[in-house]
Amino acid sequence: MAGERLDEQAMALRAVKEFRDGMVVNLGVGIPTLCSLYVPPDLDVIFHSENGIIGFGPVVTDPAEADVDLVNASIQPVKPRPGMAIVDHAESFAIIRGGRIDITVLGAVQVSERGDLANHQLPGKALGSLGGGMDLAFNAKRVIVVMTHTTKDGQPKIVRELTQPLTAPRCVSLIITDIAVVEVTPQGLLLRELVPGWTPEEVQALTAAPLKVAQDLKVMELL
Protein backbone atom coordinates (compact mmCIF):
# COMPACT_ATOMS: atom_id res chain seq x y z
CA MET A 1 0.00 0.00 0.00
CA ALA A 2 1.49 3.32 -1.10
CA GLY A 3 2.01 6.33 1.18
CA GLU A 4 -0.24 9.37 1.39
CA ARG A 5 -0.23 12.04 -1.26
CA LEU A 6 0.95 15.56 -0.56
CA ASP A 7 -1.63 18.30 -0.41
CA GLU A 8 -1.27 21.47 -2.47
CA GLN A 9 0.43 23.38 0.33
CA ALA A 10 3.10 20.71 0.72
CA MET A 11 3.83 20.69 -3.02
CA ALA A 12 4.21 24.47 -2.94
CA LEU A 13 6.54 24.14 0.04
CA ARG A 14 8.73 21.73 -1.89
CA ALA A 15 8.87 24.07 -4.86
CA VAL A 16 10.02 26.92 -2.62
CA LYS A 17 13.08 24.87 -1.72
CA GLU A 18 14.36 25.53 -5.25
CA PHE A 19 14.41 29.28 -4.68
CA ARG A 20 17.65 31.14 -3.85
CA ASP A 21 18.39 34.68 -2.74
CA GLY A 22 18.02 37.19 -5.53
CA MET A 23 16.16 34.88 -7.86
CA VAL A 24 13.35 36.34 -9.95
CA VAL A 25 10.45 33.90 -9.69
CA ASN A 26 7.13 33.81 -11.52
CA LEU A 27 4.29 31.73 -10.08
CA GLY A 28 1.59 30.33 -12.35
CA VAL A 29 -2.11 30.10 -11.56
CA GLY A 30 -3.22 27.42 -9.10
CA ILE A 31 -0.91 25.55 -6.75
CA PRO A 32 2.14 27.62 -7.75
CA THR A 33 0.64 30.83 -6.34
CA LEU A 34 0.71 29.22 -2.90
CA CYS A 35 4.51 29.40 -2.98
CA SER A 36 4.46 33.07 -2.02
CA LEU A 37 3.08 32.07 1.38
CA TYR A 38 5.95 29.73 2.20
CA VAL A 39 9.05 31.77 1.46
CA PRO A 40 11.13 32.00 4.64
CA PRO A 41 11.55 35.58 5.87
CA ASP A 42 15.32 35.50 5.34
CA LEU A 43 15.06 34.38 1.70
CA ASP A 44 15.11 37.40 -0.60
CA VAL A 45 13.16 36.22 -3.63
CA ILE A 46 11.79 38.71 -6.17
CA PHE A 47 8.34 37.62 -7.32
CA HIS A 48 7.33 38.72 -10.79
CA SER A 49 3.76 38.50 -11.99
CA GLU A 50 2.53 38.86 -15.54
CA ASN A 51 0.39 41.88 -14.74
CA GLY A 52 3.52 43.85 -13.97
CA ILE A 53 4.15 43.71 -10.24
CA ILE A 54 7.76 42.93 -9.40
CA GLY A 55 8.96 42.16 -5.90
CA PHE A 56 5.59 41.85 -4.18
CA GLY A 57 4.97 40.11 -0.88
CA PRO A 58 2.83 37.11 0.07
CA VAL A 59 -0.83 36.67 -0.75
CA VAL A 60 -2.99 38.66 1.66
CA THR A 61 -4.67 36.51 4.31
CA ASP A 62 -6.12 39.38 6.34
CA PRO A 63 -8.99 40.94 4.32
CA ALA A 64 -8.26 44.34 5.85
CA GLU A 65 -5.01 44.36 3.90
CA ALA A 66 -6.57 43.54 0.51
CA ASP A 67 -6.22 46.19 -2.21
CA VAL A 68 -8.16 45.67 -5.42
CA ASP A 69 -5.29 47.42 -7.21
CA LEU A 70 -2.55 45.13 -5.93
CA VAL A 71 -3.21 41.63 -7.16
CA ASN A 72 -1.01 38.86 -8.54
CA ALA A 73 -1.55 37.07 -11.85
CA SER A 74 -4.09 34.79 -10.18
CA ILE A 75 -6.01 37.92 -9.18
CA GLN A 76 -5.37 37.36 -5.49
CA PRO A 77 -4.57 40.41 -3.40
CA VAL A 78 -0.90 40.49 -2.38
CA LYS A 79 1.04 42.57 0.11
CA PRO A 80 3.41 45.27 -1.02
CA ARG A 81 7.05 44.75 -0.12
CA PRO A 82 9.94 47.21 0.09
CA GLY A 83 11.65 47.36 -3.30
CA MET A 84 8.48 46.55 -5.23
CA ALA A 85 8.17 48.07 -8.70
CA ILE A 86 5.30 48.32 -11.16
CA VAL A 87 5.54 48.10 -14.93
CA ASP A 88 3.01 47.79 -17.73
CA HIS A 89 2.16 44.54 -19.48
CA ALA A 90 4.55 44.98 -22.40
CA GLU A 91 7.47 45.64 -20.06
CA SER A 92 6.42 42.75 -17.84
CA PHE A 93 6.80 40.41 -20.79
CA ALA A 94 9.95 42.14 -21.96
CA ILE A 95 11.31 40.91 -18.63
CA ILE A 96 10.07 37.39 -19.36
CA ARG A 97 11.13 37.25 -23.02
CA GLY A 98 14.41 38.92 -22.18
CA GLY A 99 15.32 35.93 -20.03
CA ARG A 100 15.15 37.59 -16.62
CA ILE A 101 12.97 34.95 -14.95
CA ASP A 102 15.20 32.53 -13.04
CA ILE A 103 12.40 30.14 -12.14
CA THR A 104 8.82 29.84 -13.21
CA VAL A 105 6.58 27.43 -11.32
CA LEU A 106 3.70 26.28 -13.50
CA GLY A 107 0.83 23.87 -13.28
CA ALA A 108 0.43 21.28 -16.02
CA VAL A 109 -2.07 18.98 -17.68
CA GLN A 110 0.71 16.73 -19.00
CA VAL A 111 4.50 16.67 -19.19
CA SER A 112 6.40 14.43 -21.60
CA GLU A 113 9.65 12.63 -20.87
CA ARG A 114 11.46 15.24 -22.97
CA GLY A 115 10.01 18.06 -20.90
CA ASP A 116 7.29 19.02 -23.37
CA LEU A 117 4.59 20.92 -21.51
CA ALA A 118 0.81 20.86 -21.99
CA ASN A 119 -0.90 23.32 -19.70
CA HIS A 120 -3.18 25.65 -21.60
CA GLN A 121 -6.27 23.55 -22.35
CA LEU A 122 -8.24 21.31 -20.03
CA PRO A 123 -9.32 17.98 -21.57
CA GLY A 124 -12.89 18.22 -22.75
CA LYS A 125 -12.96 22.00 -23.07
CA ALA A 126 -13.51 23.65 -26.46
CA LEU A 127 -11.13 26.52 -25.70
CA GLY A 128 -7.88 26.93 -23.87
CA SER A 129 -6.31 29.94 -22.19
CA LEU A 130 -2.66 30.62 -22.86
CA GLY A 131 -2.30 33.47 -20.40
CA GLY A 132 1.37 34.12 -19.78
CA GLY A 133 2.25 30.44 -19.49
CA MET A 134 3.51 30.00 -23.03
CA ASP A 135 5.86 33.00 -22.81
CA LEU A 136 7.10 31.78 -19.44
CA ALA A 137 7.63 28.20 -20.62
CA PHE A 138 9.57 29.35 -23.69
CA ASN A 139 11.72 31.96 -21.98
CA ALA A 140 12.30 31.32 -18.27
CA LYS A 141 15.72 30.00 -17.34
CA ARG A 142 14.15 27.13 -15.44
CA VAL A 143 10.62 25.74 -15.65
CA ILE A 144 9.38 23.79 -12.63
CA VAL A 145 6.05 22.02 -12.91
CA VAL A 146 3.97 21.42 -9.80
CA MET A 147 1.00 19.08 -10.34
CA THR A 148 -0.73 16.01 -9.05
CA HIS A 149 1.01 12.92 -10.39
CA THR A 150 -2.19 11.59 -11.94
CA THR A 151 -5.51 12.97 -13.14
CA LYS A 152 -8.62 12.77 -10.96
CA ASP A 153 -9.48 9.45 -12.58
CA GLY A 154 -5.99 8.08 -11.99
CA GLN A 155 -4.38 8.54 -15.42
CA PRO A 156 -0.65 9.39 -15.47
CA LYS A 157 0.18 13.00 -16.31
CA ILE A 158 3.85 12.24 -17.01
CA VAL A 159 3.86 10.57 -20.42
CA ARG A 160 6.11 9.56 -23.32
CA GLU A 161 4.26 11.72 -25.82
CA LEU A 162 1.73 14.42 -25.07
CA THR A 163 -1.86 13.65 -26.00
CA GLN A 164 -2.95 17.14 -24.99
CA PRO A 165 -2.11 20.34 -26.95
CA LEU A 166 1.54 21.38 -26.71
CA THR A 167 2.20 24.63 -24.84
CA ALA A 168 5.99 24.56 -25.14
CA PRO A 169 8.44 21.89 -26.25
CA ARG A 170 11.39 20.65 -24.16
CA CYS A 171 11.08 23.30 -21.49
CA VAL A 172 10.37 21.58 -18.15
CA SER A 173 13.40 20.79 -16.02
CA LEU A 174 11.81 19.62 -12.77
CA ILE A 175 8.44 18.03 -11.94
CA ILE A 176 7.19 18.22 -8.37
CA THR A 177 4.12 16.04 -7.78
CA ASP A 178 2.15 14.81 -4.81
CA ILE A 179 4.22 11.60 -4.70
CA ALA A 180 7.65 12.37 -6.16
CA VAL A 181 10.18 14.78 -7.62
CA VAL A 182 11.28 13.95 -11.14
CA GLU A 183 14.03 15.67 -13.08
CA VAL A 184 13.96 15.93 -16.86
CA THR A 185 17.46 15.15 -18.16
CA PRO A 186 18.84 14.67 -21.67
CA GLN A 187 18.88 10.94 -20.84
CA GLY A 188 15.22 10.90 -19.83
CA LEU A 189 13.34 11.18 -16.56
CA LEU A 190 15.24 10.82 -13.31
CA LEU A 191 13.39 9.99 -10.10
CA ARG A 192 15.08 12.20 -7.49
CA GLU A 193 12.79 12.20 -4.47
CA LEU A 194 9.93 10.16 -3.04
CA VAL A 195 7.18 11.31 -0.78
CA PRO A 196 7.45 9.31 2.48
CA GLY A 197 5.80 5.91 2.13
CA TRP A 198 6.21 5.62 -1.65
CA THR A 199 8.54 3.25 -3.49
CA PRO A 200 10.12 3.81 -6.92
CA GLU A 201 8.01 0.95 -8.29
CA GLU A 202 4.78 2.52 -7.06
CA VAL A 203 5.73 5.86 -8.64
CA GLN A 204 6.72 4.16 -11.88
CA ALA A 205 3.36 2.39 -11.96
CA LEU A 206 1.63 5.80 -12.02
CA THR A 207 4.02 7.25 -14.63
CA ALA A 208 3.57 6.57 -18.37
CA ALA A 209 7.25 7.06 -19.21
CA PRO A 210 10.29 5.20 -17.93
CA LEU A 211 11.93 6.60 -14.80
CA LYS A 212 15.56 6.11 -13.96
CA VAL A 213 16.18 6.12 -10.25
CA ALA A 214 18.77 8.64 -9.07
CA GLN A 215 21.79 7.15 -7.35
CA ASP A 216 21.18 9.54 -4.48
CA LEU A 217 17.40 9.04 -4.38
CA LYS A 218 16.02 10.85 -1.35
CA VAL A 219 12.92 11.02 0.71
CA MET A 220 11.36 14.44 0.13
CA GLU A 221 12.03 16.98 2.87
CA LEU A 222 9.79 19.98 3.16
CA LEU A 223 11.49 21.98 5.88
Binding site: I75, V87, S129, G131, G132, M134, F138
Partner: protein, 254 residues
Protein backbone atom coordinates in the same frame (compact mmCIF):
# COMPACT_ATOMS: atom_id res chain seq x y z
CA UNK B 1 -6.77 77.95 -26.73
CA UNK B 2 -5.88 75.57 -23.95
CA UNK B 3 -5.89 71.89 -24.84
CA UNK B 4 -8.57 70.03 -22.94
CA UNK B 5 -9.19 66.36 -23.69
CA UNK B 6 -11.78 65.86 -20.96
CA UNK B 7 -15.23 65.00 -22.31
CA UNK B 8 -18.30 65.20 -20.14
CA UNK B 9 -19.94 61.80 -20.49
CA UNK B 10 -19.19 58.18 -21.31
CA UNK B 11 -21.79 58.26 -24.07
CA UNK B 12 -20.07 61.21 -25.67
CA UNK B 13 -16.70 59.51 -25.28
CA UNK B 14 -17.76 56.47 -27.32
CA UNK B 15 -20.18 58.24 -29.67
CA UNK B 16 -18.13 57.60 -32.82
CA UNK B 17 -17.45 53.89 -32.28
CA UNK B 18 -19.05 52.20 -35.31
CA UNK B 19 -20.23 48.65 -35.98
CA UNK B 20 -17.29 46.42 -36.79
CA UNK B 21 -14.77 48.43 -34.77
CA UNK B 22 -11.64 46.84 -33.30
CA UNK B 23 -11.59 47.67 -29.58
CA UNK B 24 -8.51 47.25 -27.42
CA UNK B 25 -9.97 46.86 -23.94
CA UNK B 26 -7.62 47.37 -21.01
CA UNK B 27 -7.30 45.43 -17.79
CA UNK B 28 -6.03 41.99 -16.93
CA UNK B 29 -9.05 40.21 -15.50
CA UNK B 30 -9.32 41.58 -11.99
CA UNK B 31 -12.03 43.81 -10.58
CA UNK B 32 -9.92 46.97 -10.32
CA UNK B 33 -8.57 47.36 -13.82
CA UNK B 34 -11.46 47.40 -16.21
CA UNK B 35 -12.70 50.44 -18.15
CA UNK B 36 -16.12 49.44 -16.84
CA UNK B 37 -18.13 52.53 -17.69
CA UNK B 38 -16.69 52.77 -21.20
CA UNK B 39 -17.68 49.15 -21.75
CA UNK B 40 -21.15 49.88 -20.41
CA UNK B 41 -21.42 52.85 -22.74
CA UNK B 42 -20.49 50.66 -25.72
CA UNK B 43 -23.13 48.16 -24.56
CA UNK B 44 -25.67 50.99 -24.31
CA UNK B 45 -24.75 52.21 -27.79
CA UNK B 46 -25.49 48.73 -29.12
CA UNK B 47 -22.84 48.63 -31.84
CA UNK B 48 -22.28 45.14 -33.25
CA UNK B 49 -19.72 42.97 -35.01
CA UNK B 50 -17.01 44.20 -32.70
CA UNK B 51 -13.55 42.69 -32.46
CA UNK B 52 -12.38 42.78 -28.86
CA UNK B 53 -8.68 42.63 -28.07
CA UNK B 54 -7.42 42.03 -24.56
CA UNK B 55 -6.39 39.47 -22.01
CA UNK B 56 -9.83 38.01 -21.29
CA UNK B 57 -13.24 38.13 -22.92
CA UNK B 58 -14.70 38.72 -19.49
CA UNK B 59 -16.08 36.45 -16.79
CA UNK B 60 -19.81 37.02 -17.19
CA UNK B 61 -22.37 38.78 -15.02
CA UNK B 62 -23.31 35.59 -13.19
CA UNK B 63 -19.75 34.64 -12.33
CA UNK B 64 -18.89 38.18 -11.27
CA UNK B 65 -21.94 38.31 -9.03
CA UNK B 66 -20.98 34.95 -7.56
CA UNK B 67 -17.39 36.09 -6.96
CA UNK B 68 -18.62 39.27 -5.31
CA UNK B 69 -20.77 37.31 -2.86
CA UNK B 70 -18.16 34.65 -2.19
CA UNK B 71 -15.21 37.03 -1.80
CA UNK B 72 -17.07 39.75 0.13
CA UNK B 73 -15.32 39.02 3.40
CA UNK B 74 -11.80 38.64 2.04
CA UNK B 75 -11.58 40.84 -1.04
CA UNK B 76 -14.22 43.50 -1.54
CA UNK B 77 -15.13 43.60 -5.23
CA UNK B 78 -16.50 46.92 -6.48
CA UNK B 79 -20.18 46.95 -7.42
CA UNK B 80 -19.39 48.66 -10.73
CA UNK B 81 -17.14 46.01 -12.23
CA UNK B 82 -18.38 45.48 -15.77
CA UNK B 83 -16.03 43.62 -18.09
CA UNK B 84 -15.96 42.73 -21.82
CA UNK B 85 -18.41 39.86 -21.20
CA UNK B 86 -21.10 42.54 -21.07
CA UNK B 87 -20.58 43.00 -24.81
CA UNK B 88 -20.27 39.26 -25.45
CA UNK B 89 -23.47 38.47 -23.59
CA UNK B 90 -25.35 41.04 -25.64
CA UNK B 91 -24.19 39.54 -28.92
CA UNK B 92 -22.18 42.62 -29.88
CA UNK B 93 -18.90 40.75 -30.39
CA UNK B 94 -17.96 38.87 -33.54
CA UNK B 95 -14.33 38.11 -32.81
CA UNK B 96 -11.88 38.01 -29.93
CA UNK B 97 -8.11 38.34 -30.01
CA UNK B 98 -7.42 37.13 -26.50
CA UNK B 99 -4.91 35.35 -24.28
CA UNK B 100 -7.32 34.09 -21.63
CA UNK B 101 -10.77 33.43 -23.16
CA UNK B 102 -11.47 30.20 -21.25
CA UNK B 103 -12.13 30.11 -17.54
CA UNK B 104 -9.74 28.05 -15.45
CA UNK B 105 -11.59 24.94 -14.40
CA UNK B 106 -14.75 23.59 -15.92
CA UNK B 107 -17.16 26.50 -15.81
CA UNK B 108 -17.58 28.41 -19.05
CA UNK B 109 -17.21 32.12 -19.73
CA UNK B 110 -19.77 33.84 -21.95
CA UNK B 111 -17.08 33.95 -24.63
CA UNK B 112 -16.61 30.17 -24.43
CA UNK B 113 -20.37 29.68 -24.62
CA UNK B 114 -20.65 31.98 -27.62
CA UNK B 115 -17.72 30.18 -29.25
CA UNK B 116 -19.38 26.81 -28.77
CA UNK B 117 -22.58 28.21 -30.27
CA UNK B 118 -20.54 29.39 -33.26
CA UNK B 119 -21.29 33.05 -32.64
CA UNK B 120 -17.74 34.31 -32.14
CA UNK B 121 -14.34 33.65 -33.65
CA UNK B 122 -11.18 33.46 -31.60
CA UNK B 123 -7.54 34.24 -32.22
CA UNK B 124 -5.80 32.78 -29.18
CA UNK B 125 -2.56 34.67 -28.52
CA UNK B 126 0.16 34.21 -25.90
CA UNK B 127 -0.14 37.06 -23.44
CA UNK B 128 3.38 38.38 -24.02
CA UNK B 129 2.93 38.30 -27.77
CA UNK B 130 -0.39 40.11 -27.36
CA UNK B 131 1.22 42.82 -25.23
CA UNK B 132 4.13 43.20 -27.65
CA UNK B 133 1.87 43.34 -30.72
CA UNK B 134 -0.08 46.14 -29.07
CA UNK B 135 3.08 47.96 -28.01
CA UNK B 136 4.37 47.59 -31.59
CA UNK B 137 1.25 49.31 -32.90
CA UNK B 138 1.87 52.22 -30.53
CA UNK B 139 5.55 52.35 -31.53
CA UNK B 140 5.08 52.30 -35.31
CA UNK B 141 6.66 48.85 -35.63
CA UNK B 142 4.63 46.81 -38.17
CA UNK B 143 6.08 43.40 -37.25
CA UNK B 144 8.66 41.73 -35.04
CA UNK B 145 10.04 38.31 -34.19
CA UNK B 146 9.44 36.45 -30.94
CA UNK B 147 10.52 33.02 -29.72
CA UNK B 148 7.20 32.29 -28.03
CA UNK B 149 5.08 29.72 -29.83
CA UNK B 150 7.58 28.11 -32.21
CA UNK B 151 6.57 24.48 -32.77
CA UNK B 152 3.07 24.97 -31.32
CA UNK B 153 -0.34 25.78 -32.77
CA UNK B 154 0.54 29.47 -32.39
CA UNK B 155 3.06 29.09 -35.23
CA UNK B 156 0.49 27.89 -37.77
CA UNK B 157 0.62 30.01 -40.91
CA UNK B 158 3.41 32.21 -39.55
CA UNK B 159 6.92 32.76 -40.86
CA UNK B 160 9.58 30.98 -38.77
CA UNK B 161 13.06 32.43 -38.98
CA UNK B 162 16.37 31.70 -37.35
CA UNK B 163 18.47 34.36 -35.69
CA UNK B 164 21.74 33.38 -34.01
CA UNK B 165 20.72 29.73 -33.88
CA UNK B 166 17.29 30.11 -32.30
CA UNK B 167 13.93 29.99 -34.08
CA UNK B 168 11.45 32.84 -33.93
CA UNK B 169 7.96 33.64 -35.23
CA UNK B 170 7.03 36.74 -37.16
CA UNK B 171 4.21 38.53 -35.37
CA UNK B 172 2.29 41.57 -36.65
CA UNK B 173 1.40 44.77 -34.83
CA UNK B 174 -2.13 44.81 -33.48
CA UNK B 175 -3.62 48.25 -33.93
CA UNK B 176 -7.12 49.07 -32.74
CA UNK B 177 -9.67 51.56 -33.88
CA UNK B 178 -10.31 52.52 -30.26
CA UNK B 179 -8.40 51.78 -27.06
CA UNK B 180 -10.70 51.78 -24.03
CA UNK B 181 -8.53 52.05 -20.96
CA UNK B 182 -8.75 52.71 -17.26
CA UNK B 183 -6.39 54.96 -15.33
CA UNK B 184 -6.24 56.59 -11.92
CA UNK B 185 -5.58 60.27 -12.61
CA UNK B 186 -5.38 62.41 -15.71
CA UNK B 187 -4.78 66.05 -16.59
CA UNK B 188 -6.30 68.02 -19.45
CA UNK B 189 -3.42 67.05 -21.76
CA UNK B 190 -4.32 63.39 -21.29
CA UNK B 191 -1.26 62.54 -19.20
CA UNK B 192 -2.09 59.46 -17.14
CA UNK B 193 -1.01 57.69 -13.98
CA UNK B 194 -2.35 54.33 -12.89
CA UNK B 195 -2.66 52.60 -9.54
CA UNK B 196 -0.78 49.39 -8.75
CA UNK B 197 -1.69 46.35 -10.78
CA UNK B 198 -4.32 48.25 -12.73
CA UNK B 199 -1.55 49.61 -14.95
CA UNK B 200 -1.17 46.28 -16.85
CA UNK B 201 -2.68 46.30 -20.38
CA UNK B 202 -4.22 49.75 -19.80
CA UNK B 203 -0.89 51.51 -20.18
CA UNK B 204 0.18 49.15 -22.98
CA UNK B 205 -2.92 49.96 -25.04
CA UNK B 206 -2.71 53.75 -24.64
CA UNK B 207 -1.75 55.07 -28.06
CA UNK B 208 -2.13 51.73 -29.85
CA UNK B 209 -5.39 52.69 -31.57
CA UNK B 210 -6.54 55.46 -33.83
CA UNK B 211 -8.40 56.88 -30.79
CA UNK B 212 -7.54 56.27 -27.14
CA UNK B 213 -10.20 56.93 -24.50
CA UNK B 214 -9.25 56.87 -20.83
CA UNK B 215 -11.71 56.33 -17.99
CA UNK B 216 -10.20 57.86 -14.85
CA UNK B 217 -10.96 58.30 -11.18
CA UNK B 218 -9.98 61.95 -11.20
CA UNK B 219 -8.84 64.84 -13.38
CA UNK B 220 -6.23 67.07 -11.77
CA UNK B 221 -4.77 70.41 -12.79
CA UNK B 222 -2.00 70.39 -15.38
CA UNK B 223 1.24 70.33 -13.42
CA UNK B 224 -0.11 68.30 -10.49
CA UNK B 225 1.13 65.02 -11.92
CA UNK B 226 4.87 64.66 -11.36
CA UNK B 227 6.48 64.64 -14.85
CA UNK B 228 8.85 61.91 -13.61
CA UNK B 229 5.93 59.66 -12.67
CA UNK B 230 3.59 60.10 -15.63
CA UNK B 231 3.25 56.65 -17.16
CA UNK B 232 1.32 57.54 -20.31
CA UNK B 233 2.17 60.88 -21.89
CA UNK B 234 -0.83 62.77 -23.17
CA UNK B 235 0.29 62.49 -26.79
CA UNK B 236 -1.16 58.97 -26.71
CA UNK B 237 -4.54 59.95 -25.30
CA UNK B 238 -7.42 61.53 -27.19
CA UNK B 239 -10.25 61.64 -24.65
CA UNK B 240 -10.54 61.51 -20.88
CA UNK B 241 -13.75 60.83 -18.99
CA UNK B 242 -14.27 60.71 -15.24
CA UNK B 243 -15.91 57.81 -13.41
CA UNK B 244 -18.93 58.62 -11.24
CA UNK B 245 -18.20 59.22 -7.57
CA UNK B 246 -21.03 56.92 -6.54
CA UNK B 247 -20.62 53.52 -8.20
CA UNK B 248 -23.52 52.37 -10.33
CA UNK B 249 -24.07 48.70 -9.60
CA UNK B 250 -23.90 45.93 -12.17
CA UNK B 251 -27.64 45.39 -12.55
CA UNK B 252 -28.04 48.87 -13.96
CA UNK B 253 -25.07 49.46 -16.20
CA UNK B 254 -27.18 51.60 -18.51
Amino acid sequence: MAVNKVVSSFDEAVADIPDGAVLLIGGFGGPGECPSYLIAAVARKGVRDLTIVGNTGGWGAKRIHELRERMASIFPIPPDWYDPSLLVERGQVRRGILAFPAAPGHMLTPFEEAYIRGEVELELVPQGTLAERIRAARAGIPAFYTPTGVGTFVAEGKEVREFDGRLYLLERALRGDFSLIRAHKADRYGNLVYRGSSRTFNATMAGASRVTIAEVDEVVEAGELDPECIVTPGVYVDRVVVRPRQPRPWHEPM
